[in-house]
Amino acid sequence: MPPLPSKPTRVAKAGEGPLYIARLTADGKYLLTGGQDRTVRLWNPHKPDPAAAPPPPTTAASATSDEPLEAALMIKAYGGGHGHEICDLAVAADNSKVASCGGDRAAVVWDVATGALRKLPAHDAAVNACAATADFAVLLTGSYDRTVRAWDLRAHGRAPVQVLEGARDSITSLLVLPCGAIVAGSVDGRVRTYDARAAALIEDDCREPVTCVAASHDGKCVLASCLGSATLRLLERGGGGSGGGGGSAQLAAYRGHAHARYPLRTAFSADDSHVLSCSEDGDVVAWDLVTGAVAARLRRHARPTSAIAAHPGGPAALGYRMLPQLQPGSEAHVHITAVAVFSCHSISKPRQRAEAASAWPWQQRRRRQRLRQW
């Protein structure tokens, strides 16, 4: 197992205000950020910005760092779609489309190449989370209005395909798994899995507000970040509960980060060997998935980190970025932040996952078909 990255390489400084979400594309080549400045920005985190001064003398992120970071290359900024902050992003597998959602109760689907946008009047309240299938056929948005709505992006209707109800508080995070399950974390303390295949709604009551859900790459486990006790809970999607009355699906719990106020995000590392989470003390904490021990603590930011994304390109390529930074003294005002991209230098060939036995047959078949097609 390659070592975890230890130092940042580049910084991506967005506009005014903190960044709330950053996502890497499926191939790990590009980075998308969204935040308070109502703009979706597309970066190439692996290239420095030639226009920028070679090493910026001081950056906001360098407060806790020794050497200044070079700026990442911003490719494009998609503005004008949102009137409020952007809370979440979803990227298509082929990088052709990006969906964003935010405080203006709407979701916007952007065409990456042209910048054309399609706005969905999604919810009655701020939209906290969005997720889309890999082919961008369905967009799911989760909102403060306690609903998750599914949108058919292949049609042009303005009504959702289905409204998933059941949550008793704000939806904070959403996932769509390739097997057709929709995972939603909510402030009411539940992780709800809407399994379309089984026509079942599975609720895992964590009793604490769930701020983020992340799925392992094999889709079998869901990581729920719980506010309050600052615990990451690894829940087994399929199992659990079935073992006996009152059983639990929890496989492991990870603690050691600060998580009391903000909706921090969490992620699996590319090979599912580690669990990563932001922390309110500015760290990024990595746990060993199996042992639960803190494997690394990457200190970069002086203020809480908000978003994290693991690079899928290789086991070692771990990109994360984050940090809405709080202005000291005034908690309400979260102000400008920088995105530091920690990246290992080896962006190797596409990940060859160890998928011999556990891979799903249709995945193999699909892959074969795709290869044959090309």
Binding site: Y20, C87, A126, A137, Y144, R146, D152, V161, Q162, G166, R168, D169, S170, C179, G180, D188, G189, A196, R197, A198, A199, I202, D204, D205, R207, P209, T211, G219, K220, A224, L227, G228, S229, A230, T231, R233, E236, R237, G238, G239, G241, S242, G244, G245, G247, R255, R261, Y262, P263, L326, V334, S358, W360, P361, W362, Q364, R365, Q369, R370, Q373
Partner: protein, 1000 residues
């Protein structure tokens, strides 16, 4: 006009959308674009003014002034020819003076204004337009005059006025003559004598003059009008007319149409209609007498000793008499008239004042007098007063006389005395006044026909209030204990202890719900003041204060509510707080939506939350009881302290409030402990039914589960159905221990040790369905045994064969290799299988079974999406022919495309010519296979859209069969087979075609 036609035809875009288009497509631009006028700075003009930029400055000045042409184009028709050639450019269009009847033009208005100012007006202030006659000579008036009309006359047929005496004398005989000719002639007034010389004027001269009365002498005409009977002139022969003694004289009709009722001029600062002396005529008279004019008037009318006038008494002020005086024509001998029309004419308002000005010489003074309602005109003062009083008040008096007899008589006698100069009797005046008194009850005038009584008829009876008992103390007193407790509580909440209790403690004192949610969110209680400023002594002072206050609250709770309170407490104890939600700092709202219960609502009663909330309770109660005075502990004994105490308390209060230890430490420790405890808790799992919509399933590449098929999607009932999901509060293990737990199979997409996912899913569904049926009291079918029993019988494969007629031709081979699923999925298993067919068919059946697992469908759908190979028909060929499609991929696609064309509606014709076309197609496919491959993806995408509805049915069928093929005996819905056959039937026709073509 012709310019417009030459340039471009008018575009008419609908009467309702604006008629013709204007400009360039309704813009101000032109086809060449819109060129705004050049910006010319005024700097040069201002600065230079003279020498250096002469021409430029002039151009600038010209350019800066905006002209109408700047906003017009040729199509406006005014610019090109009319405006410039007619010389109207730059002028304002306005009516000519001839047609400007009311003098509305600016010049006329200005002139009018100047005249009004110079002359002075009868009415101060801005005069109403209606009262001011036309200042110019408009065309309408000229036309009328040419037709014989004179100023001041009415417009209409001329009328005949007969002397009143003659009319009275000849009343009876004349009816036969004159009214025989015009029997419907109305009599407009009492017949009176006519003494105007104008009456004697012969009609011939009138006709020659074209008008009856010389212009200007309107007063005479008015008197005529008032004193004569008007009759419309009939077209009687001259002989008949000549028989009249007075001669056949006709008059112009009254100008009644233009009559305007003019209210008295308002010159005081009172509200409209308000008369300050309405009920105090004496005061009014005194004021009047006190004024200078009043003194002169009194001197002039010295013979009359009356203090106030009758008109004042009746009307409540002097204004009426004055108005009448003003209205009365001057220079005319006053007679006793009957009722006069109480209307003003326009000419009265204008000319009367001017004439009065001429006569009196001091016009403004008189106007002032008139306006103040003070009638003191020298000459006709007496007569005017007497006349005016009667005249003006006639209607009122008559009205009252008719209704109320004695009052009317008194008033008329008073009036008579007044007119005769006799002093008015005080009693009569008082009686007259009383008639106008108001009801004392509501200060309104009495109803018509009633008079306010001078002596009240009945006195209201008042009863003395009952005597309170002698022991009554008019103020409630608390017992000393109650009092002290109350004060302590008040002190605790609002008084001395303020600042030492946090919001949660105060809320607990006031009985609010505890802040469970805040604790859950990891919020520290607001003990900042305790941490920072307060000393231990303060904390200690706060601690005992809390207990008596809480107890004091209980003191006030009546025992009658104890039961209710306990019930409510038990209901809400475990629930979350309702305090203001904490705001999420980074835009992600952590607030609870309104009206929502929090996560604690459904926490199991044995859960740690409930425990922690209840644990300190008994402790607190005991400590509280100790801290209380003895007298109150007695109260506690009587009541139910456990119930009365707020059951769930924040950790900081429950112990910190009672012990001497600082609450801060406790709060932090409690919070930390709570966090630890929460972290140690493992999530509990519940499973319920959720019905995804078919479209969502389709988009998620997931077969539509049976539960979703029960719902009628898109209808109102379906929406309700969708939401009414039965919730299973038991965990899965309770009702499916034998299946999932024993086999350690994950419910969804299990690990897959030899067990395909679909099977497990299906099993889970069956179990849940069974449980639902059991829960519903067996309303549905009896629950199936969990596993390995088929409820529905699958139709034999021969049926499918017969329907689909798989071709035995070896041309089409299934494209995909046998799916990589576990071998078990490819073997057909089940009691209802038909006997084994011949080998080839067996292979087909195997393939058909292999089709059924949902992953196969999914992969097919995926493949379809990615364009490599696709479509339901391919799946069908997969299932039926069992041939690989890889070899004949392009040809298959070609057929596919053709089939999709066939579906577009010309199927019959194509059937006829299918042989030849397929031949042609084969040759084509040989020649240009490579080129086709490129286009195939596009075509298939198109075909994909066309076949969406087919795909659903196929996936449904494959879903149902997949459970069978998987080897696990799973109940299958009975309609699966039907759906499958439906879908197959839909594709059957095209398959036949294909088969034909293949045989060719």
């Amino acid at each position: 006009m012709e310019g417009k036609a030459a340039k471009r035809p008018e575009r008419f875009h609908g009467a309702f959308t604006g008629g013709f288009s204007a400009g360039y497509f309704n813009t101000v631009g032109t086809a060449e674009g819109w060129a705004p006028s050049k910006f010319v700075s005024s700097r040069d003009r201002r600065a230079g003014g003279g020498e250096d930029g002469g021409a430029a400055a002039a151009a600038a000045a010209q350019q800066q002034r905006q002209r109408p042409e700047d906003f017009m184009d040729e199509e406006d028709g005014l610019l090109g020819r009319t405006l410039q050639e007619d010389g109207l450019l730059g002028r304002t269009l306005q009516a000519k003076e001839d047609f400007d009847t009311m003098g509305q033009t600016a010049a006329a208005a200005a002139r009018q204004h100047a005249e009004a100012i110079s002359k002075g007006s009868a009415i101060p202030g801005p005069a109403p337009l209606e009262l001011i006659g036309p200042s110019s000579d408009p065309i309408g008036r000229r036309l009328l005059r040419a037709m014989g009309w004179r100023e001041g006359q009415g417009v209409g047929r001329r009328v005949r006025r007969r002397p009143a005496a003659a009319a009275a004398a000849a009343a009876a005989p004349r009816t036969g003559e004159t009214e025989g000719a015009a029997p419907k002639r109305p009599r407009l007034g009492p017949l009176q004598h006519l003494e105007d010389e104008c009456q004697q004027q012969p009609q011939a001269s009138l006709a020659a003059a074209g008008a009856g009365v010389p212009d200007g002498d309107s007063s005479r005409r008015r008197r005529q009008r008032a004193e004569t009977q008007l009759e419309v002139e009939d077209e009687a022969p001259a002989a008949v007319r000549a028989r009249f003694a007075g001669g056949p004289v006709t008059f112009a009709p009254d100008n009644a149409a233009a009559a305007v009722a003019v209210p008295p001029a308002k010159a005081d600062a009172y509200g409209v209609g308000y008369d300050p002396y309405a009920h105090a005529p004496e005061l009014a008279a005194a004021l009047r007498a006190g004024s200078r004019r009043g003194a002169a008037d009194a001197a002039a009318a010295g013979a009359r000793p009356a203090v106030y006038r009758m008109s004042d008494a009746v009307r409540g002020g002097g204004g009426s008499a004055q108005q009448q005086q003003q209205r009365a024509p001057r220079g005319v001998p006053h007679e006793r008239h009957g009722a006069r029309p109480a209307v003003y004419r326009m000419s009265d308002a204008v000319r009367g004042s001017s004439r009065a000005q001429q006569r009196s010489g001091g016009g403004s003074a008189q106007q002032q007098r008139g306006l103040h309602g003070f009638a003191v005109d020298d000459e006709d003062d007496d007569a005017a007063f007497g006349d005016a009083a009667i005249e003006y008040d006639t209607t009122i008096v008559e009205d009252e006389v008719e209704v109320g007899g004695s009052g009317g008589a008194a008033l008329s006698s008073a009036v008579a005395a007044w007119t005769k100069g006799v002093e008015v009797d005080a009693g009569e005046a008082a009686a007259a006044l009383r008639r106008h008194a108001r009801c004392p009850s509501d200060n309104r005038p009495p109803p018509v026909g009633f008079v306010v009584a001078s002596i009240p008829l009945q006195k209201p009876t008042y009863w003395t209030p009952p005597e309170p008992p002698s022991t009554f103390v008019p103020r409630h007193q608390f017992s000393p204990e109650q009092d002290r407790a109350r004060l302590e509580m008040v002190d605790m909440i609002w008084g001395k202890a303020r600042g030492r209790v946090d919001a949660g403690q105060r809320g607990a004192l006031l009985g609010e719900a505890p802040r469970v949610r805040g604790a859950l969110l990891g919020e520290a209680p607001l003990v900042v003041t305790l941490q920072q400023g307060a000393t231990a002594a303060a904390a200690a002072a706060a601690a005992p204060a809390a207990a008596p206050a809480a107890a004091a609250r209980e003191v006030f709770m009546p025992a009658a509510f104890d039961g209710l309170k306990s019930a409510m407490a038990s209901r809400f104890t475990g629930s979350s707080g309702t305090e203001a939600p904490p705001t999420g700092p980074i835009g992600l709202s952590m607030r609870a939506p309104k009206g929502l219960a929090n996560s604690g609502t459904e926490a199991p009663p044995s859960g740690p939350i409930g425990l922690s909330m209840r644990a300190p309770k008994a402790q607190a109660t005991a400590a509280q009881a100790q801290a209380l005075p003895k007298a109150r502990s007695k109260l506690f004994r009587g009541g139910e302290p456990e119930v009365l105490m707020p059951e769930a308390r924040p950790a900081g209060l429950s112990t910190g409030g009672l012990s001497a230890a600082t609450p801060k430490v406790d709060a932090e420790a409690e919070a930390a402990k709570e966090r630890e405890r929460l972290a140690a808790l493992e999530p509990t799992r519940t499973v319920s039914v959720w019905r995804p919509s078919p479209l969502l399933c389709k988009r998620l590449n997931v077969p539509v589960p049976p539960a979703s098929r029960e719902v009628q999607w898109g209808t109102q009932a379906g929406r309700a159905q969708e939401k009414s999901t039965e919730i299973f509060h038991e965990s899965i293990g309770k009702f499916a221990p034998s299946a999932a737990a024993a086999a350690k199979l994950p419910l969804l997409h299990g690990v897959g040790e030899g067990a395909p996912a679909a099977v497990t899913v299906g099993a889970g569904l069956v179990q849940r369905n069974g449980a639902a049926a059991a829960a519903a009291g067996g309303a549905q079918e009896p629950p199936a045994p969990p596993l390995d029993i088929e409820v529905a019988v699958k139709p034999p494969l021969d049926l499918f064969k017969r329907i689909f007629e798989p071709d035995s031709d070896s041309e089409a081979e299934a494209e995909a290799a046998p799916p990589a699923g576990p071998p078990a999925m490819r073997t057909v298993k089940g009691p209802a299988m038909p006997p084994l067919p011949p080998p080839q068919q067996q292979q087909q059946q195997q393939e058909a079974a292999a089709l059924r697992p949902e992953w196969a469908v999914e992969s097919a759908a995926k493949a379809q999406r990615y364009g490599a190979s696709s479509s339901e028909s391919e799946l069908e060929s997969d299932s039926e022919s069992g041939k690989s499609r890889t070899k004949s991929g392009p040809g298959e696609r070609r057929r596919e495309r053709r089939r999709s064309k066939e579906r577009s509606g010309k199927e019959q014709r194509r059937r006829r010519s299918s042989g030849s076309s397929s031949k042609k197609h084969k040759s084509e496919s040989k020649s240009g296979r490579k080129a086709e491959r490129r286009g195939d993806r596009r075509d298939e995408r198109r075909a994909d859209k066309k076949r969406k509805h087919k795909k659903r049915s196929s996936s449904r069928r494959s879903d149902g069969d997949g459970s069978d093929g998987g080897g696990r005996g799973v109940s299958r819905r009975a309609d699966d087979g039907g759906g499958g056959s439906d879908g197959g039937g839909g594709g059957g026709g095209s398959r036949k075609d294909r088969k034909k073509s293949r045989h060719k």
